[in-house]
Each structure stands twice: as structure tokens, then as C-alpha cells.
């Protein structure tokens, strides 16, 4: 347990280092790229004195290190500046848009887990027969198809051809959103007991979440399959068989459990990568999430909003990685982390 805790502490420390690095990187990108952010924000028709005033307001007339320190100081207070496009604090905008994205990504991760891993177990069990081959084709297609193409395929199939799921949006127009608790419609509807709203919102989420999950789903299945087959070939499975342990127990405890460790690590990365894919899927499904907000910000050269969104996504990415480390550390009984040996 102690080694696990010190491992965790080390990971947290490293993550904080990376987060500081990310803030410097984003700051540098925002400042080094040619063009005056104030001029870009105000457009070519603004007068020179207006530009100067905004430059002063954005701290752009100070030396770079001072600008960075000011940036960090404001960050510490949870101040990401005012969005030049919506004219609201960026933090407020993110609070409004992030829950919708989080909801989508969480369901995507869940789909990846509950379909990907059983698919891998099936593929391992029926290796080199048709379920295995189907899983293989699925994995190849899943990774190679851009999420926005999945989104269009799934929309054509389920919303238009079969017609069982809504085309776009987050909630049908005739329904009122539930009272605001977390900002996630399905969760809020559940908490406040609005079952009709929950079911409606859930159905709206299915296609976008599935589009996000596709890339990781097949990969999760392939990894589970390969790792399960690997662990079936080990001496401890042989030993367990010799002792007469039930085949199902062997599958669950000795084959699946070690197979999940590398699978979870990769799935954590896939899960975090969904935030990138969400940019595309939200556009297709007209989903009012943070990705669509960021795309608007980019198209309008909204400096503060771009910096804020990128930082939030980076932080989310790091948090997911830490959670994955904890989960993997928990299911791996012999976790002992090698110090960087040189």
C-alpha cells in the first residue's frame, strides 16, 4: 500500500509539472504566433487607440514573463478573462457548455467499456471463428474511420433509415430541461425525477456517444482478446487447471483480470482522446457542448476562449490519466513501479 501511495504521489507531482508545462505552451502559442491578438479580436476597422486600450487590458504591453505571471495569477483565481465573442467570462461559458460534453464523453466511455471488453472476451473464446473475425474487422474500421464519418453513418442509419433515434440536438423542443443541478441533462433529470425528460435526453445522446466510442471500442476488444489469449498461455493458468479450478473462475480471475490491465491503460487514452473527437461529433449533431463553443471561438479568433478551453481539456486529459493509473494500480496486485533507471 505504501509503495502504491508514493507511486500515486509521484504521478500527481509529475502531472502538476506537465500542467504547468501545458500552460506555458498554450501561453507561448497564443503570444508567439504572428499577429496582434488585440488587433485580431477587434478587427481591421478598430482605431489604434482602441487596440492600445485592449492591449493594456489584456496585459499585452508588458514583457513576456510578466504577462505569463499575470496569466497564472488570474488562473489561480479562476479567471480566464472575458470571451471577446460572447462578452461573458470564459469560465462562465465553460461552465455552461462543459457538462453537455462531459455527459457525451462519459456515455461514450461506458459504451466502449461495456461493449468493447465483452466483445474481446467473445473473440478470445471463439478465436479464429466468425465472432473473432467480426471483432477484428470492427476494430480496423473503428480506428480508420473519422468520428465525423461515423456520426454521419450512424445518423443516416438510425435516425433516417430506421428512424428510431432523434436526428440532432440535446432534447426535443416540446420538453422543458430539468432544473439545473450538474448541468448534465440526463443526470439532472434523474436526480429530480423527470423520467420522460431523462429518456428523451438519453436517446439524443446515444448516437453522438456511439460515434465517439467507435475508435476505442474495437481497439479495446482487440487488446482484451490478445491479452486474454496471452494469459491463457501462462504457467499459472496451467497450474490452476491442474488444481481443478472451474473453467469460468479461470477465465474471470486468471485470464481476464491480468488482460484488463493493459486494456485499461489504452482505454484511458482513448477515453481522453474522445474530447478531441467531440469537436467533430458535436458539430454533426448540433450538440451544445464545449467543443462547439471552441470551434466558434477559433472561427472568431476569440483568444481568451481558445486558451481557456485548451487548458480545461488538458486538465481533464491529465485527470483521466491519473484515474487510469489509480484503477490500473488497484487491479494490478503486483504493482511496483520501476524508478527511471539509468
Amino acid at each position: 500500500m505504501r509503495s502504491f501511495l508514493s507511486y500515486l504521489a509521484r504521478r500527481l507531482l509529475a502531472s502538476i509539472g506537465v500542467l504547468i508545462g501545458v500552460s506555458i505552451l498554450i501561453f507561448v502559442i497564443a503570444r508567439v504566433i504572428p499577429g496582434d491578438p488585440a488587433r485580431i479580436a477587434l478587427g481591421p476597422t478598430a482605431s489604434q487607440s482602441q487596440v492600445e486600450a485592449l492591449r493594456h487590458q489584456l496585459y499585452l504591453d508588458r514583457p513576456l514573463p510578466l504577462q505569463y505571471l499575470e496569466f497564472v495569477r488570474r488562473l489561480g483565481r479562476g479567471d480566464l478573462g472575458i470571451s471577446l465573442y460572447t462578452n461573458r467570462p470564459v469560465v462562465q461559458d465553460l461552465e455552461a457548455y462543459f457538462p453537455a460534453t462531459l455527459e457525451l464523453v462519459l456515455l461514450g466511455g461506458l459504451i466502449m467499456l461495456v461493449i468493447g471488453i465483452p466483445l474481446g472476451v467473445l473473440a478470445a473464446y471463439f478465436r479464429n471463428r466468425w465472432p473473432d473475425n467480426a471483432a477484428r474487422v470492427f476494430a480496423l474500421l473503428g480506428v480508420a474511420t473519422p468520428s465525423f464519418v461515423w456520426a454521419i453513418f450512424l445518423m443516416l442509419l438510425f435516425s433516417y433509415a430506421i428512424g428510431i433515434l432523434p436526428v440532432a440536438g440535446q432534447l426535443s423542443e416540446n420538453l422543458k430541461p430539468p432544473p439545473h443541478v450538474t448541468g448534465m441533462l440526463t443526470v439532472d433529470a434523474l436526480i429530480t425525477g423527470h423520467w420522460v425528460v431523462f429518456w428523451n435526453a438519453f436517446r439524443h445522446m446515444l448516437l453522438p456517444s456511439a460515434s465517439l466510442a467507435m475508435a476505442g471500442l474495437g481497439q479495446a476488444a482487440r487488446l482484451t482478446r490478445a491479452n486474454m489469449l496471452d494469459s491463457y498461455n501462462t504457467a499459472y493458468v496451467e497450474t490452476a487447471r491442474a488444481y481443478g479450478v472451474a473453467e469460468l473462475t479461470i477465465a474471470r480471475k486468471y485470464a481476464l483480470r491480468p488482460a484488463l490491465i493493459p486494456t485499461f491503460t489504452v482505454m484511458g487514452l482513448d477515453f481522453a482522446a474522445m474530447l478531441g473527437a467531440a469537436f467533430l461529433v458535436e458539430v454533426v449533431f448540433n450538440w451544445p457542448g464545449v467543443a462547439r463553443y471552441a470551434v466558434e471561438a477559433i472561427l472568431h479568433k476569440d483568444l481568451n476562449a481558445i486558451v481557456g478551453t485548451t487548458l480545461v481539456i488538458a486538465a481533464f486529459f491529465l485527470v483521466v490519466n491519473i484515474i487510469v493509473d489509480i484503477v490500473v494500480g488497484y487491479i494490478n496486485p503486483r504493482i511496483h513501479i520501476k524508478r527511471d533507471s539509468r
Binding site: G35, P37, A144, F279, V283, K301
Partner: protein, 280 residues
Amino acid sequence: MIWRSKAWFRFSRNALSISGFVIVAAAVLLALFAPWLTPYPAEAGKFVDFAHASLPPSWHHLFGTDTIGRDVLTRVVFGFRVSLGLGVVVLALAAPVGVLLGLLAGYVGGWVEGLIMRTTDVFLALPPLVLALAVLGFLQPNLFNAMMAVTVMWWPWYTRLVYNLARSIRTEGFITAAEVIGASRSHILLREILPNCFPSILTKMTLDMGFVILIGASLSFLGLGVQPPTPDLGSMVANGAQYLPDLWWIPVFPGIAVLVLVLGFNLLGDGLRDLLDVEV
């Protein structure tokens, strides 16, 4: 002789690797000779023919026509040019930079290693698409800037790969031997370590072609890459998505084209990985 080796036998017997090779070769040939191979080369870019607009797939227009009357098949094939071009330029810029930094970090060590590898960690801490978007957020949306944005975020993968390779090769006997006879640091880096990294780098570049094409298509899907009327797969899908479901052929065929292209490079890369027996 590679074609008599066991690995080549494995590669050529593997239907998936071969189909990857065929897809990539076909795409490259189509892209190179697009003006001669497409049915309506004049319709690739600026062209309007409302008399033949929004036609469903038929023998005259296998993939149908778009809302201003351009042949979708022709535009898809010309779109390969942009996708492949983007992949080649990005990797030609990102890979050498990444490889060089990885070699330095892996062999020199010390603060050089610390600086390079911690910087790499920072770059790899963000989803690739998001970092490219952050860079593009401050630039004008066009193909050149999209290439630069993807390049800026792609080099760290090569640094990490070559760093790990260099560290394990560094301990091999032939490096010690070279050091003992007084070979210079640059000789060891470029003539001893680098050649041993080539198989892995080549495999990674093949696999990455697919991913770079995917990211490029994603950027232009968001309107941040190639601008119309240049034919590009991502922007064709974006454009066609607003006419769903009636004019389904406008987004669906370019979408399938991206899928096939990326799949081709993935299969070829997997085949190469087996053939060269490397980890990437």
C-alpha cells in the same frame, strides 16, 4: 534478400497487409494521375453546372453530383491529392525534427535529455486534434497553416520513439566498441544508432500517414484547413452533411474515401511492423 526471407513470406501471405499495400498504391497512382484518370477533371475545383446538380449516383456519375453540379467521384480522387500531400509534408517535417531530438535526448543524457523529454511530455499531454486547433485558433485557416499546426504537434511522437530506441541501443556492444576506438559523438549518433532506428521510424511513418490524414480531414471538416473550391475530403463531408438525408451521396462517398485511405495505411503499417519485426 528480403523477398526470400521468412518475414516477406509472412507479409505476402497476409491478405490484410497486401490489401493495405494495394489500397495505398492505388490511392497514390490515382492522386498522381488524377487529371487523366477521373471522368470529369474540369469539375474538380471552380465549376458550376446547375443543370446537372444534385444527381444521385448513376453510370454517368458513379458517386453522384454535388449541389452545384460537380462530379463527386472526380472531386474525391482530387481530394486524395490534398490528403496525401498533407501527410507527406507533415511527416517530412515532423519526423526528422523528432528523430534528431530523440537521438540527442537518448544518447547525450543529462539536462539535454531532461529538457527535451519533459517538453515532449507536455506536447503529448494534449489530445492531438486539440493542440492543432489551439495553434490554428490564432492563424488564418488554410492548407499551409493546417500543415504547420499538425507538424508542430506531431514531432514529439518521433522523439519519444527514437529516445527509447537510442537508450536501449546505447548499451549494445558495438556502441561501446565504437566509443573505445574513439569514434566521435556525431559518428555514433548518426552512423551507429540512427541506422538501427530506421525500421521503427519507417513503420511509424506508415502508420502515422493514416492518422495525419485523419487529423487533416478533421481540420478541414471544421472549416479550419483547406478552403473551397479546392477539393478536399473533409470539407466535402462537412459541406454535404447539411443535405442529409436526401443528398446522402455528397457526404457519404468522401467519408468512405477517408476511411479507405486511412485503413490502407494502417494495414500496410501493421504489415511492415511484422515484416521488420519492430515495436512502435
